[in-house]
Every structure is written in C-alpha cells, then in structure tokens.
C-alpha cells in the first residue's frame, strides 16, 4: 500500500511543473513581387456576378451601382429598383483600390496603371485605355518593371518579438483603403464641362471635377485630364503630406480629409489646383462633407487613427482661406457621413445610423431625427433614388423621400466570411 503510494509520488512529481506555451498570431503583409507585364498582358475579364465579399466603395451611376472589392475588382449591380437590386457582373481587376465614373467611362487603378472602361452598356463592358505607370510608388524597381504588393498573411509564432515586425512593414497605397472601408461623402458634384459624373461614396480617393480626375494616396494628389473621357492623361502630382484619406469636390474646390486635418484646394484651374487652407486638428480619421457655408468633418478614434476623439466638427467655410471651427458635437464612433439638403446622415459604426436636421448648425445635437441601431454603418451615400448605407455586413438601401423617416428598401448581404 505504502509502496504504491510512494511509487505514485515518484512517477508523478517529475512531471509536475506547469507548462506554458505562448503563441502569437498576427496578420502581417508579406511582400509579393510582380512583373508589370504579367498583369498588363493578362486580359481584364468581365466575369458573371459574384457575391459581395469585402465591399469597399460604392459609386452610383444612373441605374447602376458599382461596388469595389479592394484588390480584386468591381461588382456591377442593376439598381433600377432599389428594393431589389440585381447583381449583374464583376470586372476582375487585380490590384484595384478605387474607381470613378465620368460620361459612361469607368476609371479604376490596376497596380501602377490607370484603366478606363466603356460602361455605356453594362452588359458589354470594354476596356478602352490603359494609362501606364501613373501610380509609381508601387514600383520596387521601375527599370525591371517589378512592383511590390503586400499580401495579408496570418502568421502564428511562438516568438513574441516577431509580432513587432508587423509594425515595421512599409506603407502601401491600398493599406488604408483595405483597413477602412469607410469615410463617406456625397461626391455628387455636378459642376464641370457638361459631363455627367457618377456619384461616389466612401473614401472616394478618386474624384472627378471640371474634366479632371483627382486621385489621392497616402502622400500625393495626382491630377489627370479626362477632357477626352476615353483617353485620360496624367498631368501632375502634388505632395500633400501624410495620411491622406478622402477627397471631396464641391463648387470648384477640393476638400481633402487627412489624418491630421482638412486641406482645401482651389481647382478653378482644374489642371493646376492651388492650396487655399489647411484646417488642423487632433490626429484622427475624418471624412468630410460640405455645403455652401459649412464643412462637416467627423473625427473618429480607431486603432489606425491614433488617439482621436469621436466628434462631429462643423466648420464655417464662407472664407475658404480661413475655415473656422464653429462647434463640435460628441458622437459615438462616427465614420462616413452624407449630406442631403438640410439633412445630415451619419454612420456611427456599430452604433448604427443617425440622422440630423442641420439647418441650424449650432443646434445639431438637439435636432436629431432618428437613430437606427440594428446594423453596422460605415459609409453613406444619399443617392437619387435611395440612401445607400454600407457596412461590413453588406449594402442596405433606404427610402429617404421623407428625410425624417427612413424606410428600409433592401439589403445585399456579403457572403459569409
């Protein structure tokens, strides 16, 4: 008996130290090198409709919705009836980040190139132009035609120090896009030489104004002439500094939202925009919408936006050279916003969607109309037929003919991730 007990003690004790195994899983970006020829020679294929997976940005053009899938391509939906949108087809564009639409021509980036598609018949889309090497910051070696892209990769390691390497990776043009499918505005500027522009939503880092296409990436504003829509010409590059996020055209001006503030550029000479003012604030993520007198800027705290505050700022922009903060309102977690007349629609992330009457900009918080909570809203576009709300779960449309009472029309859910 005692023998057994002591035998058991002997057997058990040596293995009696607790074991600790720590693993660190992180998503990092592994560089993938590509030869420009490999994608230039490959045909851009129009594929049958695909379910939405990771919707990025939305463009409304006539009865159609163009929904980008960053890095992969663009979905085309027939939205003749917003209560039941129909998924038509998918343009497979590897390495795409953004798009803009001008006179039946869709512009989209394809790694370092800008592509133009004729979309006059969405059933029969044709690529009409490839403007090469206009986004050269993706080149790792321009002479050999090698570009570098970064592929999201999950790594599990037992070495805690490796997790820091994810911070050391280089910034990449579509990083901010991929991380944040957000930051909204009503990009429906109807100015410019009689051309009909599509209406862009969230994070429109491509925008059209006065016969010109403007693109922003982390540091630069690039200007393209699209006066001949099928033949975009790269004109110039303006350095803007760090953390550029969104671009919003209004009455010949470009309002550029960055992580540190809002830049205003005068684009009355569209090929040569001139800096008018910079409104600086604490570092945070901030989409912008504008009307004649005021700019509405949301500041949001988030992992990638540094120590920001969650606020809606109203700026007086009657003097564009000297924007003045009039009032700031605390918000839950504001992302994109959309302005339609006197009504402001604000995406509050997982807190849903809020609507305000902003006729009196000093009393916005007292004029809240609705707060819809049962979905996550990242971005909002007040379209001609419906208010389009984008979130990680899909794209929903609301009837806002009565701006004080939104009515849900339809939702397109993303495929299960």
């Amino acid at each position: 008996m005692q023998l057994m007990l002591s035998l058991m003690l002997v057997l058990v004790f040596p293995s009696c130290e607790d074991q600790l195994e720590s693993t660190y899983t992180y998503q990092t970006q592994v560089p993938v090198f590509l030869q420009v020829n490999s994608f230039r020679e490959a045909d851009i294929i129009i594929e049958p409709a695909k379910p939405l997976d990771n919707p990025g940005k939305i463009y409304i053009f006539g009865d159609y919705l163009f929904i980008s899938e960053p890095g992969k391509g663009i979905h085309i939906l027939d939205n003749t009836n917003p209560a039941s949108p129909r998924n038509l087809n998918f343009i497979n564009i590897p390495g795409t980040g953004d798009m803009a639409i001008n006179d039946n021509i869709l512009y989209a980036d394809n790694y370092v190139d800008l592509l133009a598609f004729d979309i006059s018949d969405p059933q029969d889309i044709e690529m009409v132009k490839r403007e090469e090497d206009v986004f050269p910051n993706m080149y790792s070696n321009e002479e050999t035609g090698t570009i570098v892209t970064y592929k999201d990769t999950l790594i599990t390691s037992t070495d805690p120090n490796m997790s820091w390497s994810s911070w050391g990776r280089p910034a990449f043009r579509s990083d901010f896009m991929a991380m944040e499918s957000m930051a909204a505005y009503n990009g429906g500027s109807k100015s410019g030489g009689g051309q009909s522009y599509g209406q862009g939503g969230s994070m429109a880092r491509f925008t059209l104004l006065g016969g010109h296409l403007y693109t922003v990436d982390d540091y630069d504003l690039r200007v393209f002439s699209v006066e001949e829509p099928t033949d975009p010409q790269y004109l110039k590059n303006i350095n803007l500094g760090w953390g550029i996020e969104t671009i919003f055209p209004f009455k010949g001006k470009l309002f550029i939202g960055s992580m540190t503030g809002m830049h205003i550029y005068d684009a009355s000479n569209p090929s040569d925009p001139q800096k008018m003012a910079v409104y600086e604030h604490v570092t945070s993520c901030d989409p912008v919408v504008v009307n004649d007198d005021y700019a509405f800027v949301t500041l949001r705290s988030a992992a990638v936006c540094r120590m920001g505050a969650d606020e809606l700022h109203v700026l007086d922009i009657k003097d564009l050279y000297n924007p003045q903060l009039i009032k700031s309102y605390p918000m839950d977690n504001p992302h994109g916003l959309g302005l339609s007349g006197d009504y402001l629609y604000l995406a509050e992330g997982e807190h849903g969607l809020k609507s305000f009457n902003v006729a009196d900009v000093l009393e916005i918080s007292n004029n809240r109309l609705e707060h819809l909570k049962d979905f996550t809203a990242i971005d909002i576009i007040p379209g001609p037929k419906s208010l389009i709300v984008i979130g990680p779960d899909g794209v929903c449309q609301f009837d806002y003919s009565d701006p004080e009472k939104l009515k849900k029309l339809s939702c397109i859910n993303v495929s299960f991730r």
Partner: protein
C-alpha cells in the same frame, strides 16, 4: 468528439437518481475537498479544490458517474465537467483501497471577458481535464465512508489577450485583431483530498 458527448449525455442521464435506470443500480455519491499542488514559474503553488462524483453502483466494486466541482488556481476558477469511474479493491474490509479515473473538460464559465481601459480584450477558455486517483476509504457504522486520496490531475487552460482592429471582431479570426496572443497553460497537479462517500 461526438462519441464523447454521447457518453457524457448518457452519464448525466443515468447519474440522475430519479431515472428508472437509477433504480436498477443504486445511487452513489462522493464529495471531496483538498489541495492541488504543483510548480509554476514562480515556484510551488497550492490551490484549493472541491469535487463531487454522482453516479451509480454498477457492481459492488465499480461505480460510474458524473464529476464536477471547482478548482481555484489563484484567481482563476475552473469548473471540471467530467465522467468518472471508481473501483474498489476490497469492499468487504473496513479499510478499503480504491482507484478512480476522471476524464472530461475544465470550463472557465465563471471567468468573464475583461476589456481594459486600453481596449485590450482578455478571455479564457478551458480544455482537457484528466485525473487518476488512488485512495483509501474507511467504512463507518452507517455504511458510509471517509476517504483519503492522492491524485494526479492534468488541466489545460487557454488565455487570449488581444487588441481589436475591427468594430466587431470575431474571437476566432486573428485577422480582426491588431495583437493576438494565446497562452496555453497545462496545470500538472498532485492532489491530496479528504472526502465523504455514500
């Protein structure tokens, strides 16, 4: 895994004394309290443990049932949920030698998810629990028993620390987190217990 669940469910069902099966076999109960002892990075540790075995007597020597209780490792509470088997070598004697084997799961259902002011999320998950015991039981006048036992208990436990990147992150998707560290801790215990059996 399915097989384990089936056996589990069956054990639970059968262990319940009100079931008709329970009438065919007599109900038996064994509660114990004691110390979990082991060694971690900081040195020796002694932790409190309590467990109860509820089952039915298959034969005079063998009992089969359901084990639960509480293991308190410092501030961590683990609730074992297991199947248990007890076998007595010499049921006719006053001092009896018995052995036991418990296999199942240790649950951290009492541990809440913590979110710090820095938005760091910490959550805990249980894991495999296995225990082998040997002990003595002393028959009392009323055909109940006092027990004294020595066991080896292995308990696996997971602690995840993560900072979210998404608005509504999924715990099982490391992509949704900017930092995601998982510690798997295996507690190896020598357990000393006193108990009461009827």
């Amino acid at each position: 895994m399915k097989v384990i669940y089936t056996i589990f469910a069956a054990t639970l069902y059968l262990a319940c004394p009100s079931n008709s099966w329970g009438q065919a076999f007599s109900y038996t109960h064994h509660s114990e309290m004691g110390m979990l002892t082991g060694r971690d990075n900081f040195g020796e540790r002694i932790n409190f443990t309590f467990q109860t075995f509820n089952g039915f007597q298959l034969t005079e020597r063998h009992a089969f049932g359901f084990v639960t209780g509480l293991d308190q490792y410092g501030s961590l509470s683990v609730v074992p949920i297991a199947m248990g088997w007890r076998a007595v070598l010499n049921p006719e004697d006053t001092w009896q030698l018995y052995g036991g084997l418990d296999l199942g799961f240790g649950s951290t259902l009492l541990e809440p998810t913590v979110v710090t002011e820095w938005n760091e999320h910490r959550w805990q998950e249980g894991g495999f629990m296995g225990q082998g015991s040997i002990g003595l039981r002393l028959k009392t006048k009323r055909a109940n028993f006092w027990t004294l036992s020595l066991s080896y208990k292995r308990q696996i436990y997971h602690l995840t620390t993560a900072n979210p990147l998404e608005i509504s992150p999924d715990r099982n998707r490391p992509e949704d987190w900017s930092y995601y560290a998982k510690d798997k801790i295996t507690f190896n215990n020598v357990v000393y217990r006193l108990g009461y059996w009827f």
